[in-house]
Every structure is written in structure tokens, then in C-alpha cells.
């Protein structure tokens, strides 16, 4: 499936998952901000509409997460996420150093992409954190807020709903930061639009990252 410079990186199921996830997360971020900073005099999005959209997008992203989770569990895609803990700090430093200095000196990336390596160590850490910590945390707290009667009423001095909502909003915020950085990092390379094209057609051009 790969030509000389092109690797088939993103199978169809992954692209479908990624597309739905991207759309869902964008809706969740905008409606989430609108709900968090709701104001009777100014609506980013109408409150009721924001609630409905947030709920629908939340359920959609949660169900879609199952596709990501089981897709990675049964296909070989999981190998790209394997993180070597040995030398992780050194590898991360190398990657940061490339992004902050090496790439401006036209140095070669320390972890060039290949059929065996889809993500550099920084990407791995980011993707693992987001997809196996933040998003499941958001799904869990989001479902709890959708069925608030399931939440413990009082945890020491705090309202259970308050704690769940703060955790939900904080994780949501971290995912929004990830999205901004993710979109920017995707534009890094000779051709800024190249990676965006890859996630649509599945092929990644490894010539000149």
C-alpha cells in the first residue's frame, strides 16, 4: 500500500473515528465554553441549544471513543502507541530540542516517521494522555453530569456535582489546549496543509517532514 515516499498511515476506520471525533470535540468546546460562561445578556450559543448540542456531541464522541478503543485493541495500529519508558526523558528532550531549535537549522528530525514509527515520543505522550486519560475522564464525568442523580451528593465539604463539573471543565480545557497545539503541530513541515490532507486520504508523505 505504500509508494516510495508515501505510507498508508491512517486506515479507513481510524479516519472515520478521527473525523467524527474532530467534529464532536469542536462542538463540545464551543458549547462547553458557552455553558461555562453563560450570560442572559449575551449568548455565544443559545443556552438550551448549547445544552442539547453538548449532550448530543458528548454521546457521539463517547460512542465514537469505543471505535478508537476497540479499533486499536484489535488492529495493529496499537503498536504505534507503545511508549518506551527507558530513555523517555532523553527522547522527549531530543524532540523538544528539534521543535525549538533543530528544525530551524534544517536538521533531520530525531525520530523520522516510517512504517514502524507513526508518532514521535512527544506525540505518543500527548496522544496517550489525551486518549487514555483526559477523554475517558471527560466521558466518565460527562455521563455522571448527564445523570446527576448518580453522583455522590457531598464529598467532605464539597458538592459531588461541583467536583465532577470542575473536573469535567478542567479536562475539557486541557483537551482544548491539546486541540490548538495539535492543529498547529500538524501544520509543521514544508507544506503546512500536507498532514491535513493525509488524515483525509490516509497516505502520509514522509519526504521532508
Amino acid at each position: 500500500m505504500s509508494s516510495e515516499n508515501k505510507i498508508y498511515f491512517y486506515p479507513v476506520w481510524l479516519r472515520i473515528w478521527h473525523g467524527i471525533n474532530a467534529l464532536g470535540i469542536i462542538i463540545l468546546i464551543f458549547t462547553g465554553i458557552s455553558l461555562q460562561y453563560s450570560n442572559p445578556d449575551f449568548h455565544l450559543i443559545n443556552f438550551k441549544l448549547a445544552i442539547n448540542l453538548h449532550n448530543i456531541a458528548g454521546i457521539l464522541v463517547s460512542l465514537n471513543y469505543l471505535l478508537f478503543f476497540f479499533g486499536n485493541l484489535i488492529t495493529s495500529n496499537k503498536k504505534y502507541y507503545r511508549l518506551k519508558l527507558k530513555g523517555l526523558f532523553r527522547n522527549l528532550t531530543l524532540q523538544v530540542s528539534y521543535y525549538t531549535s533543530g528544525m530551524f537549522k534544517n536538521q533531520q528530525p530525531p525520530f523520522p516517521l516510517s512504517e514502524k514509527r507513526k508518532f514521535n515520543p512527544m506525540q505518543k505522550v500527548a496522544y496517550l494522555s489525551v486518549m487514555y486519560l483526559f477523554v475517558p475522564g471527560l466521558i466518565f464525568t460527562g455521563l455522571a453530569l448527564l445523570f446527576p442523580e448518580t453522583i455522590i451528593e457531598e464529598v467532605y465539604l464539597f458538592s459531588g456535582i461541583f467536583l465532577t463539573a470542575v473536573l469535567h471543565a478542567s479536562l475539557g480545557f486541557l483537551v482544548s489546549i491539546f486541540l490548538v497545539v495539535h492543529l498547529y503541530v500538524a501544520s509543521i513541515g514544508k507544506h503546512p496543509a500536507k498532514n491535513f490532507k493525509s488524515i483525509i486520504d490516509g497516505y502520509h508523505d514522509i519526504s521532508g517532514h
Binding site: 455553558l35 460562561y37 453563560s38 450570560n39 457531598e154 458538592s159
Partner: protein, 329 residues
């Protein structure tokens, strides 16, 4: 025989000591029982004991003068008092005859006494400096605008909501929002969940609450945590609790009025709560240890600022990187 038994030399010898001993026990017992009484369980005035001897029981006995027999009857459930609730209420220290006719002292009671008009709340509370802070006249003014007064007139007395026997000023005394909400909503529910009482003021059956509120998400959570009056009254700044109950068409149906930073709940439900917490526990604690979270209303200022800072730093990082990319291209 009995007398001679008691007057034994030993008893006589010990009578003074025994009396002191009993007095001591009585004293200790009274101290214990006083300390065992919670602040709210005020002891009732002794004059009420005679009334409550019958009016706390399911049955009563009287001498039927027509048949010359002693008859035992069931007590009308409406006339059975809960002694504990009465003594915890705002009028717990009152004598029954402070409000009811003193002729009730005779038994069996004269049936016509029931027809006597009772004192109204304002007879005592109106124009009295001691109660000036509670603004009973203002409450009455607001109440007269309410749908209850508009539909039922004078027959809708204060006691329809505020049971004179058991009423507690929870919105002023309780520090638990859930308790304030529960007590307040129970006043509405006593009629709006009970057709028998509802028929006192309306010929129609009461509307099904869950049905008329079907637009409201998480109904049960709202009913448990929000007072009915939050949406069904016109908030008046000077009053702790608004009494102008609006017609259903004017009830608040705008979620954002509560779910926003300037939530109207802060002007109503949490008005007193906030004041109390701020004075006794400090503002910081009110923000952190908030047990009554409302989505959108309680934005934690610390988290808000930190998140804005992180977001700006991320944007700045991206901006700087982008500039270098353009320069070094």
C-alpha cells in the same frame, strides 16, 4: 396503717437528709434534661399541657350529658398536634389561648367557638418594632399582588402556607441550602401535591407537577435543590423571601437566569446563605467549599484565571514558533 408504716423512727431520722438527697437528684436530673434539650426544642409552656393531653392523642373521652355515659371518640386528625414540631416552631413558646379563645379552657368545648375568627398574623406582627426587620407590611403588600390573593382574596390566609403551629424560619436560621429548599417547597407542596387541600382554594384538580414542568431538564434534581419560589415569584431586594407568587404564565422559564455568573439565585436563594457564610467562614471558604453548585453560575475565579493564563501561554508559544518558522523559511 400506711401512715404508721411511714412514720418509722428510721424514716424520721432520715427525713431531712432524704429530702436534701431527693432535691439533689432532682437538681441533677433537671440539669441533665435541660442540657439534653436542643436549642430548637424549646420547652413548652405548662398551660398547654392540659390541651395537649387530648390534642396529641388519637382518641378522646368525654362525659355525654345527654346519655349520661362516658363516650370515647376518635380525634379529628386535623386537631392532633405534634408536640415536638410545635415546640420547635416559631410560636413554640405560645400558650394555646394566646391565639385560640380562652373559653377553650372549659371542656367539652363549646362548638360555636370554632366559628370565632382567629387573630391574623398581622394582628401581632404588623406595626411592631420588634418585627420591623422582617417587614411584615411589605410582605403583605407583595402578597396582595400575588396570584394567590388575586384568585382567592382574603380567604387565602398566611397560614395556608405558613402553618402557625409548626412554622420555622428556616430561610433565616438554617445554613443548609437543602434544608431551606426542602422546608420552603413543602409549603407549596402541601397544597400543590394534595388535591384535598388544593380544593380549599380551587374547584379544579391540581395540575400534575411533573407534566407542567416537563420542559425542565433534570426535574427531580431541580425540585430537590431549587425553591419553587425561585421561578414563581418576583424577587424583591429588600425582602429575604419574595411573596409575590406570579401567575404561571409569568413564571421564569429562562435557564440562563440561574445558570449564569450573575445568577438570580445569588439575589434570592443564596442571598442570606452567602451573607451568613461570608461573615462566619470567610469568602474564600464560600467559593471553595460550595455545596450548592449551579452550572455556569459558580465559575471558580482561580481556575478561570489559571486557564486563561495557560491558554495565552500556549497561543504565545505557537505565535513565537510561527514567527521563527516564517523568518527561517
Amino acid at each position: 396503717m400506711l401512715e404508721s408504716d411511714i412514720r418509722t423512727p428510721a424514716f424520721l431520722f432520715n427525713s431531712r437528709a432524704m429530702r436534701s438527697y431527693f432535691q439533689l437528684i432532682l437538681f441533677i436530673f433537671s440539669i441533665c434534661s435541660i442540657s439534653g434539650i436542643k436549642a430548637q426544642d424549646k420547652p413548652m409552656v405548662p398551660e398547654n399541657e392540659l390541651c395537649l393531653k387530648c390534642h396529641t392523642n388519637q382518641t378522646f373521652t368525654f362525659q355525654n350529658t345527654l346519655t349520661d355515659t362516658e363516650d370515647k371518640r376518635m380525634m379529628n386528625p386535623l386537631y392532633i398536634m405534634n408536640k415536638d414540631h410545635f415546640s420547635s416552631g416559631v410560636h413554640g413558646k405560645f400558650k394555646c389561648t394566646d391565639c385560640h379563645s380562652s373559653e377553650y379552657d372549659t371542656y367539652p368545648h363549646n362548638a360555636e367557638l370554632k366559628l370565632e375568627p382567629l387573630s391574623t398574623c398581622l394582628d401581632c406582627h404588623g406595626g411592631d418594632e420588634q418585627y420591623a426587620a422582617y417587614q411584615f407590611e411589605k410582605i403583605d403588600e407583595e402578597f396582595q399582588k400575588s396570584v394567590h390573593f388575586q384568585k382567592s382574596g382574603e380567604s387565602f390566609t398566611c397560614s395556608k402556607c405558613h402553618d402557625q403551629h409548626y412554622y420555622q424560619a428556616k430561610s433565616r436560621t438554617s445554613s443548609k441550602v437543602s434544608e431551606i429548599v426542602g422546608f420552603s417547597n413543602e409549603m407549596c407542596m402541601s397544597c400543590h401535591r394534595n388535591n384535598n387541600k388544593f380544593h380549599l382554594i380551587s374547584d379544579e384538580n391540581k395540575p400534575e407537577l411533573s407534566k407542567i414542568h416537563d420542559w425542565l431538564p433534570n426535574q427531580e434534581l431541580h425540585f430537590r435543590n431549587v425553591r419553587c419560589i425561585e421561578c414563581h415569584t418576583q424577587v424583591v431586594d429588600s425582602l429575604s423571601v419574595s411573596h409575590n407568587i406570579l401567575p404561571k404564565e409569568q413564571a421564569l422559564r429562562n435557564c440562563v437566569e440561574c445558570h449564569s455568573k450573575n445568577s438570580m439565585l445569588i439575589a434570592s436563594l443564596y442571598k442570606y446563605e452567602n451573607l451568613q457564610n461570608r461573615t462566619s467562614e470567610g469568602k474564600l471558604n464560600t467559593i471553595i467549599a460550595n455545596k450548592s453548585y449551579v452550572i455556569g453560575a459558580y465559575q471558580n475565579p482561580w481556575l478561570n484565571n489559571i486557564s486563561i493564563l495557560i491558554f495565552l501561554m500556549a497561543l504565545a508559544g505557537i505565535g513565537i514558533h510561527l514567527i521563527f518558522r516564517i523568518i527561517k523559511k
